[in-house]
Each structure stands twice: as structure tokens, then as C-alpha cells.
């Protein structure tokens, strides 16, 4: 499997990554090489094999339905790039 520069731009868009124009061609080459290596997997017969969910076959623990988290909004918002009145600021999304 190889990726064209156009496909790389599409994947970058899906991943919300802005690429510089000079990055696209080298990325297309490198990602194609990686996918080429990964393509070995297609030849493996996995009929009847269950995909692995967890090596120890554990189930998720349940805990009592009690409040355990403290409200630490100020501490968490202190590391945000832009906040106001306890809210996170982003560019206007509704005109």
C-alpha cells in the first residue's frame, strides 16, 4: 500500500494536522514505506483467531457510585492557553 501526496493531505486533515507544503512529499514516501512493512500482516492466516482485547482477559472493575473527585477547576484551568469566567476560550464557531 502506498500513499499519494493527495492521500497524505486527506489523512492530515482527518487528524487535524496542518502540514507545510514541503512536508507532504517526504511524508508520502515515509508513510508508504511504513505501510509497505505493515503489509506483511495481510498474508497471515487469521481465520478463526479472536482479536486480542486484553492479555490477561480481565473485565472492567466496578466501584461504588460515590463522588471521589474534588473540584479542581482552577488548578486545571491555570494550564489552559485562554480562559474567562471559568470557561475555555476558542475562536467563534457560530457567526
Amino acid at each position: 500500500m502506498s500513499l499519494t501526496p493527495e492521500q497524505v493531505k486527506q489523512v492530515a486533515h482527518l487528524a487535524r494536522l496542518e502540514l507545510q507544503p514541503d512536508q507532504v512529499t517526504p511524508y508520502a514516501q515515509q508513510l508508504s514505506n511504513i505501510l509497505g512493512m505493515v503489509d506483511q500482516l495481510t498474508a497471515v492466516d487469521t481465520s478463526g483467531v479472536m482479536p486480542m482485547a486484553h492479555p490477561l482477559e480481565l473485565t472492567q472493575r466496578l466501584r461504588p457510585d460515590q463522588v471521589t473527585e474534588q473540584n479542581r477547576r482552577e488548578a486545571f484551568q491555570a494550564v489552559a492557553p485562554a480562559v474567562e469566567d471559568g470557561l475555555y476560550l476558542v475562536p467563534k464557531v457560530i457567526e
Binding site: L3, V44, L56, V79, P81
Partner: protein, 490 residues
């Protein structure tokens, strides 16, 4: 007191208790060594000198009061992937360059809090960006140099942790291992490093790369030192949903057991083409030494192990692309200036904040999870992962421990593989399978080729950390490889 950096953790703990030196003196010694030697290595991103000395004073008070824990007052370094409250926690990324963690990772709390071990934190170690790399060259803060030859890589992603410990800038350091990031750098710097069973050490506050593979561990100068630190890190944590509720074995207490009759399997696939003949010779010499100590050697087969690298490069990027989606310039991390709209904010913050290797893995992950490709890539990889797991299950019916090389060769030159991701990925060919299966594995020194260290790898069944440390310790009682330090930093 010029040799404090050559003492074992046990000797340091004894010295602290006997008042031969104080924790403040010990901490000062390592801070001075960091100041003198780290410019040549770049192993630390942040040195927390003031905080370390304050912790040392608290430790000295605790030692005086007689309520010290095993590691009280012992300086340690933390990989900069673990959140430490009030300290910049960057994950070696521009994205988190300004991120001051608002809480402690569970292992940071266990190791450093006063109601925990009360060990001293010297600082935060350099690493590959978001732990993605095998050479520590993807860090936003620049590459780390190998203390054995500063023109070579220390391995990755825990390159800063190993360089610091190998050069005697810290007695031991925490590290993480998603595909070999503890074991491969330990091998390349003459250290002992252990990645425990998945779920044995809490992942809470450890910045996620590939959640089904990530596991925290330790790098140190011996199995005994590793046992002390791992003992303090391990155990159930309700804050980590994949943490295992199961008592922790006595790692230190188990070191002295004889290995007479221990069944060691050599996987033939790990000794095939691709392994440097000089490394093979040293690993086989170690096998003979273990045989002298009473181990019984046989050949085993892990037929699907050649598939571990391609499987990993589907599963790990898929999980990484999901985990790193949270870094969008809104709640924390890098935010681009002068953006047009919300989408532009996301794209430019992520385009500027992530380096090339992280971007490649995010794109691979996004691609393999996208509509129409999911079954062919991700689901198939998870099925092959089951086959790899079954290989181990079969092998552990016949043997107690599996032994092979950790890396294909000694440390390579800085810059020699940075343009070729696939050749870089093949560095982890012997280490990835243990992560895919979730079993514990470790690396320990077994000799030198032209002055550069070679490591051997031990893999054990689930929760067999104690046995691995025991085997490594018995080997180290009979050999001197692990006692060697790089001359320039001795």
C-alpha cells in the same frame, strides 16, 4: 565522599541510616554531577534542584526520627512522561513545553511523597517526543548522547533516563516501555532495566502513548537496585482502570534464590539473521554462564515473532492517534497564534506542536482506523497479536524464562537512521513482542564490543518479575559487566 555515585541503592540506604552522609549531601553530590556532566549528555529536560534539596531535608528528618522507608532520601530521576505536580511535564514535546502538571502520577506520589517512600526527585529526564522513538533523537529539547560514546545514541525512548544513570548522574530512574523503550536503551548503555507485566505498575499520570502496551518500569545499574525501585512503584491503583488487584511479590527478598534447575528457552527466531555476530557471541557466553549456575538450556520457537514489528506499527499508532487527539490547543498545551477559526486552531496548534515522528504516527494511526481500512489493518493486527501471545503461552509450558538478545547491535551513530523510519523501527524487533503479549521482560549487561555495551533480554510469564530479577541478580553475582562505568563519567 567522591564515590557516592558508584554506590548501590542498598549501600546508599545503609549510609543514610548510619549517618555516614545525609540525604542533603547525597542530593548535592548528584546535583553537582548533573551540573558538571549533563551539558555533554542532555539527559535532563528539567532539574528540580531547590525542590530536591527541600525533599532531602525532609528525608533527613525522617531518617533521624527513625520512620524512613526503603528509599527515603535516595535521589532518583523521573522520565518526563510522568506528571509531577508543580513541575513542567513536557513529554519532550513542544506541545507540552509550558505544561506544569496540576497533579502527581501515582508512581511519583508513591516514590516521592512524604507518606510514600520519600525519595528525592532530582529532575525530569529527556526522552523521545511522546516516547515515540528508539534513539532519543525526536525530543523537542534535542538528542541525548550515549555516555559510552557521545557521538552515538543512547537508545530510546527512555534515552535521558539511561544516560543519566549510566553516567552516574542519578542512582536509578523511572522509564516507560511501549515497544522496548526501557530495555533497548538499557542494553545500549550497560544498564539493567525492567518492564513489568502490563497492569503491575499504575499508568495514572503517565502521559499515554499506546494504552494497551504502555508500562512503567525502572532503569538502574543492577538487578538489585531495580528490585528496590520496582518494589516501591508496583501495586494496585484504583485510579488506573487496567491496574491489577494482586499482591506484589518480595522482589528484593527473592534475589538470593539459587537458579539451579531453572529452565531457560532460547527462541531460535531471536538468533536468526539480523543479529550482529559479535552480540550473538556475548549473549551465548552469558547463556553458558547461566548453565554453569545450574540453569537448563533448551531451544524454543516463537514462530510469529517476525510479525511483531508490523503488528506494533498498526496497534501503537492507532492508539496514539486516539490518545493524542486531546492535544488540541484548548485546555492545555501549545496554541497557535492568529488563527482564523476553530479548525485552524486545532490544525495549526497540532502542526506546530508535534514533531515529525509524532505526526507520522498520528497519520498512520488515523489511516489504519479510517473507514474501509479498519478490518484490513487494525482488526488483522489485533488477531496477529493473539497469535504472538499464544506463542508465548506455548513456550512457557516448557520453560521458565525466555532468553535472547535485547537489540540487534551496539549503539548506532547519532543521525544515522533519522531519515529512514522503517530501519529505526527494526531496532525494536526483539522487544516488541513482550509488550504485545503483556508479559514482563528485562535487559541486563552481558559484555562489550569495542567498548560499547551489549545487553541480553529475559522474558517471563505473567507476574514473574521476581523470577526475572532473581535470574539477573544471580548472573550479576557471577559477572562484572554491570559494574563497568564509562570512563569519561566515572
Amino acid at each position: 565522599m567522591t564515590d557516592l555515585h558508584r554506590l548501590s541503592i542498598r549501600a546508599l540506604a545503609e549510609g543514610l541510616r548510619a549517618r555516614t552522609f545525609s540525604s542533603r549531601e547525597l542530593t548535592r553530590h548528584f546535583l553537582d554531577r548533573i551540573a558538571a556532566h549533563d551539558p555533554a549528555l542532555n539527559s535532563f529536560i528539567t532539574v528540580t534542584a531547590e525542590q530536591a534539596l527541600a525533599q532531602a531535608d525532609l528525608a533527613d528528618a525522617r531518617l533521624t526520627a527513625g520512620n524512613a522507608a526503603a528509599l527515603t532520601g535516595i535521589p532518583l530521576a523521573q522520565k518526563d512522561i510522568f506528571c509531577a505536580e508543580g513541575v513542567r511535564t513536557s513529554c519532550a514535546s513542544r506541545m507540552l513545553d509550558s505544561f506544569v502538571a496540576p497533579y502527581d502520577a501515582t508512581i511519583v506520589r508513591k516514590l516521592h511523597a512524604q507518606d510514600g517512600e520519600g525519595a528525592v526527585m532530582l529532575g525530569k529526564c529527556n526522552m523521545d517526543e511522546f516516547a515515540m522513538g528508539s534513539s532519543n533523537e525526536t525530543s523537542w529539547y534535542g538528542p541525548v548522547k550515549n555516555p559510552w560514546d557521545v557521538t552515538r545514541v543512547p537508545g530510546g525512548s527512555s534515552g535521558g533516563s539511561v544516560a543519566a544513570v549510566a553516567a552516574g548522574l542519578a542512582p536509578a530512574a523511572t522509564a516507560t516501555d511501549t515497544g522496548g523503550s526501557i530495555r533497548q536503551p538499557a542494553a545500549l548503555t550497560n544498564l539493567t532495566g525492567i518492564k513489568p507485566t502490563y497492569g503491575r505498575v499504575s499508568r495514572y499520570g503517565m502521559i499515554a502513548f499506546a494504552s494497551s502496551l504502555d508500562q512503567a518500569g525502572v532503569v538502574a545499574r543492577s538487578a538489585e537496585d531495580s528490585a528496590y525501585v520496582l518494589q516501591a512503584m508496583s501495586g494496585f491503583d484504583p485510579l488506573d482502570s487496567t491496574s491489577i488487584e494482586r499482591p506484589v511479590d518480595d522482589y528484593v527478598g527473592g534475589l538470593g534464590r539459587s537458579i539451579k534447575g531453572l529452565r531457560i528457552g532460547l527462541p531460535k527466531e531471536y538468533f536468526a539473521e539480523g543479529l550482529a555476530p559479535s552480540s550473538r557471541e556475548l549473549v551465548m557466553a552469558a547463556v553458558r554462564k547461566l548453565e554453569e549456575l545450574g540453569a537448563v538450556i533448551s531451544e524454543v520457537s516463537l514462530p510469529n515473532s517476525p510479525l511483531s514489528v508490523p503488528t506494533y506499527y498498526v496497534v501503537a499508532p492507532a492508539e496514539a492517534s486516539s490518545n493524542l487527539a486531546r492535544l488540541d490547543g484548548v485546555r492545555y498545551g501549545h496554541r497557535a497564534e492568529g488563527v482564523k477559526n476553530l479548525e485552524d486552531l486545532y490544525k495549526r496548534s497540532r502542526g506546530e506542536g508535534f514533531g515529525a515522528e509524532v505526526q507520522r504516527r498520528i497519520m498512520i494511526g488515523t489511516y489504519v482506523l479510517s473507514h474501509g481500512y479498519y478490518d484490513a489493518y487494525y482488526l488483522q493486527a489485533q488477531k496477529v497479536r493473539t497469535l504472538i501471545y499464544e506463542d508465548f503461552k506455548r513456550a512457557f509450558k516448557d520453560v521458565d524464562v525466555i532468553l535472547g538478545p535485547t537489540a540487534t547491535d551496539v549503539a548506532f551513530k547519532l543521525g544515522s537512521k533519522t531519515d529512514d523510519p522503517v530501519s529505526m523501527y527494526l531496532n525494536d524487533i526483539y522487544t516488541i513482542a513482550a509488550n504485545l503479549a503483556g508479559i514482563p521482560a528485562m535487559s541486563l549487561p552481558c559484555g562489550f564490543v569495542d567498548g560499547l555495551p551489549v545487553g541480553l533480554q529475559l522474558m517471563g510469564n505473567y507476574f514473574e518479575e521476581s523470577r526475572l530479577l532473581n535470574v539477573a541478580h544471580q548472573y550479576q553475582q557471577a559477572t562484572v559487566w554491570h559494574t563497568q562505568m564509562p570512563v569519561a563519567f566515572a
